[in-house]
């Protein structure tokens, strides 16, 4: 197989190259004049007559301009150019390609005599002359020109001949060897061969040192694997002939190609983990092409030889991201082609999705925290409420100590005065009040009837001390049925006695009235004392506690609430309770 491939080399012959050469010539001409002006210093373009020993030449790695097996019958100039596992198929349109039996054979349209060839290797190009041997060498001469102008080697005879180790195609051994030469890229060397004293060249061969970059012809994704395999089977058929879909064949440009360094980026669908980059070059050795891969600016694969002995780079196991595929030919390492491509992320790989996830997560976290906090706050509030209720209960459970001991003192006084009936009355009423208070504070709600009984007992006792008048007026209310918060009114009455009428004695009057107004029940407690300012601090602990307790009770009520309003004037104080939706 290998010989076939090697024999299959042929060289491109570009029309446009002529133009280039032409412009190069112009430039070089100017350069030469310049060189003459500055004291005929050597031109900076290097060239060398190689002196590698003949037997060190790797003839195996040479592509030749002729294959001809009958070349020995005629005199020919054969150019041997280093092959290095690469060839550039389909570039030359001037060469007429055909093959016989097992190898290719071609004839130049421009005849065998004049050849223009490219080399991509910075190394030597060798020239041999089948048909010229020691015995007829003295009738020929050759010279070497650089860039078609500068004579590097003037006309001279062929003095070297190949030895018995020589093996190149089917050329006969011991034929003439003109030597190996090289120059810099973008320059060319011309060898001219003629019969002595005959000005007409019988053969000419120009070799141009051409810079090349790897160039992608098409890209195959996993969907295109069938097409790709078809392509592999017929490597020398153009994509057009194979009717390839040109999905990714159009806009290939490298960073180096594009003027503004903003090459087009291919965008591949999410999940494309296999991509095959097909080069429009014929590569037969993995070492010929080198590539490196960067993902999101980081090197994933450093420079390495290609993985296949073919003209494609097959990338496996790709994930979403932005990639840079860099390629170069081993023989021209400074000439790097960089292609940009991108594999789209799946919807769940997109930044938006990740952001959404994070936001959702944060939201969930906030919600959980909020939930925990609110639960804790609720628990805290509950304990606070319970604490307050306990506090209220403990306050409710106690009669005002001031009142208790005043009452006991009154009884003592009556006993001392031997007013036994009065003392007995005072005493039993006091015990009733004590009993009611102890019993009733266990319940949050009480029948209004019982509440009023307790108030009456209290008032009776206070009457013994202060001798004021009191009235309880009830209109349209079933006091046995209606319930009110237990001991709600008692502190108000106490306040009325203490701050209101205690100093007025017999002129003092307390009126408690219970009335209805639609669905509301209204209880007013009015005294004709001097009153007090509602904002005053001295309004009493009892009043303040009642307000707090009402707040608490109102929180537990549904569609009902109790409003307390205090109106204090110079001649009377009224405390008005409105029990909304109570009846």
């Amino acid at each position: 197989m290998l010989p076939d491939i090697i024999f299959a080399r042929h060289y491109s012959f570009h029309i446009f190259r002529k133009k280039n050469l032409h412009s190069e010539k112009k430039r070089l001409f100017l350069l030469c004049i310049l060189a003459c002006i500055i004291n005929c210093t050597n031109a900076q373009v290097k060239w060398r007559d190689d002196s590698i020993p003949f037997n060190k030449i790797e003839w195996n790695n040479m592509s030749t301009s002729y294959f001809s097996d009958d070349a020995d019958k005629m005199i020919a100039l054969v150019t041997a150019i280093p092959y290095n596992g690469i060839d550039f198929i389909g570039m030359n349109k001037e060469l007429d390609l055909f093959y016989t039996s097992s190898y290719y054979k071609y004839q130049s349209n421009l005849s065998n005599h004049f050849q223009k060839l490219d080399t991509y290797d910075s190394g030597n190009v060798y020239f041999v002359t089948p048909g010229i041997f020691k015995n007829n060498a003295d009738s020929f001469e050759f010279r070497i020109l650089k860039d078609g102008k500068v004579v590097m080697k003037p006309w001279c005879e062929i003095t070297q001949f190949t030895d018995s180790n020589f093996q190149l195609n089917s050329f006969r051994k011991f034929c003439g060897f003109l030597g190996g030469y090289h120059t810099g890229f973008n320059h060319f060397i011309t060898v001219e061969l003629r019969r002595k004293n005959n000005l007409k060249n019988i053969a000419e061969s120009s070799v141009y040192w051409k810079q090349i970059h790897p160039h992608i012809a098409s890209v195959y994704t996993s969907d295109d694997l069938n097409i790709f395999l078809k392509r592999l089977k017929s490597a020398y058929t153009s994509p057009e002939e194979l009717n390839e879909s040109k999905k990714y064949t159009e806009e290939y440009s490298t960073i180096e190609d594009s003027l503004n360094h903003r090459a087009k980026m291919w965008i591949f669908n999410a999940g494309e983990s296999n991509l095959i980059f097909y080069l429009n070059a014929s590569i037969y050795w993995k070492g010929a092409l080198e590539y490196s891969l960067l993902k999101n600016g980081k090197v994933v694969k450093d420079w390495q030889p290609n993985d296949y002995d073919n003209n494609f780079v097959w990338l496996h196991n790709l994930s979403n991201g932005n990639y840079e595929l860099k390629m170069r030919y081993r023989m021209q390492r400074p000439n790097v082609s960089t292609y940009l491509f991108k594999i789209k992320p799946f919807w769940y790989q997109t930044n938006a999705f990740v952001a959404a996830c994070i936001i959702f997560g944060l939201l969930l976290l906030t919600l959980i925290i909020f939930f925990i906090l609110s639960r804790r706050r609720l628990a805290l509030q509950k304990t606070k409420t319970q604490k307050l209720q306990l506090e209220l209960r403990s306050v409710r459970s106690q009669l005002n100590p001031h009142f208790v001991f005043n009452a006991l003192s009154s009884i003592q006084s009556l006993l001392k005065q031997s007013k036994l009936e009065e003392a007995d009355y005072y005493f039993t009423e006091f015990s009733s009040l004590l009993r009611d208070t102890m019993r009733n504070n266990e319940k949050e709600m009480l029948p209004l009837h019982i509440e009023l009984q307790t108030i009456e007992t209290y008032v009776k006792l206070e009457q013994l001390r202060f001798a004021f008048k009191y009235q309880i007026k009830i209109e349209d209310i079933d006091t046995s049925a209606v319930e009110v918060p237990s001991l709600l009114l008692q502190p108000i009455i106490e306040n009325a006695v203490k701050h209101g009428i205690s100093k007025m004695r017999k002129e003092g009057e307390i009126i408690l009235s219970v009335t209805s107004k639609g669905k509301d029940m209204i209880i007013t407690i009015m005294d004709n004392g001097n009153g007090f300012s509602p904002s005053q601090q001295t309004e009493g602990f009892g009043l303040k506690l009642t307000k707090e307790r009402l707040n608490l009770i109102n929180q537990t009520l549904i569609e009902q609430y109790i409003d307390m309003h205090i109106e204090s004037k110079a001649i009377a104080t009224t405390v008005l309770f409105t029990f909304k939706n109570w009846l």
Binding site: T428, E429, S431, S432, T479, I558
Partner: protein
């Protein structure tokens, strides 16, 4: 003239009551006193009093156990107790009189007059017998009879025959199974207190209902309980939750 005995575990209380009763010496005489239940049984058997002033809480046998130990309950009892602890519920259930310590003169007077009126006709004391049978039965049994004192008589009605009660100011109208209505001179909250252990629900400030007669819950411009006899009783907003809980929990 009515004869009475006093049974109390404290000498001072006996003395106090004797002093208080001195005011009514033309109507009532105390023939004997006892300081515990066993002695009490003895003096009751000995003296056959018309009225017994009985302390409930005593060391050894209490007042109720004393009554249960007696073969004949042909006397009136005025219970005397310091605080409305356990037991007073049964006394209330039987609609018997009781005095709370320290005794109020006016309450004593009321009780004495009531007892004297009753004791004029010497007969088996049904209320007392009812109390004793109440104490023997397990609680929450709707077979138990509750005493319903009205202006003219005291009726003993099995709890399961009461459908519902309605507040009429300080009176309560009680609806019975035989379509009878009894107006009793006690407030509805007292019946709520007595009957809540028997499956009665206070569905509204004016209504107390026997759970077993509740047919369904109706919602139309508010909530109502439909009873077996077609009566609709309102459910107040505040009681709604409590009523629901009570309806399912018994």
């Amino acid at each position: 003239m009515v004869s009475g005995v006093i049974i109390d575990d404290e000498q001072n209380n006996i003395l106090n009551l004797q002093l208080l009763l001195d005011k009514y010496k033309n109507e009532i005489t105390i023939s004997a006193t006892a300081m515990n239940a066993d002695e009490g049984i003895k003096i009751i058997k000995q003296h056959s009093p018309d009225v017994v002033f009985l302390d409930i809480q005593m060391p050894g046998k209490n007042g109720f156990q004393l009554l249960q130990a007696l073969p004949h309950l042909d006397f009136e009892v005025i219970f005397v107790t310091a605080y409305d602890q356990y037991g007073i519920q049964a006394v209330k259930f039987a609609a018997l009189d009781y005095l709370l310590k320290p005794i109020k003169a006016e309450e004593l007077q009321y009780a004495i007059h009531k007892v004297i009126e009753k004791s004029l006709i010497k007969k088996q004391n049904l209320q007392l017998q009812n109390l004793v049978s109440l104490l023997q039965q397990s609680p929450k049994n709707q077979q138990q009879r509750i005493a319903l004192p009205s202006a003219t008589e005291t009726r003993f009605v099995p709890v399961h025959e009461i459908i519902h009660c309605e507040s009429k100011n300080s009176y309560t109208l009680i609806y019975l199974l035989n379509n009878e209505k009894v107006l009793v001179s006690k407030a509805i909250y007292e019946y709520e207190d007595l009957l809540s252990d028997y499956g009665f629900i206070r569905c509204h400030q004016s209504h107390l209902v026997n759970r077993k007669f509740v047919k369904s819950w109706i919602k139309k411009d508010g909530d109502y309980l439909l009873l077996d006899d077609g009566t609709e009783l309102p459910v107040s907003r505040q009681k709604k939750m409590a009523v629901k809980t009570a309806l399912v929990s018994f």
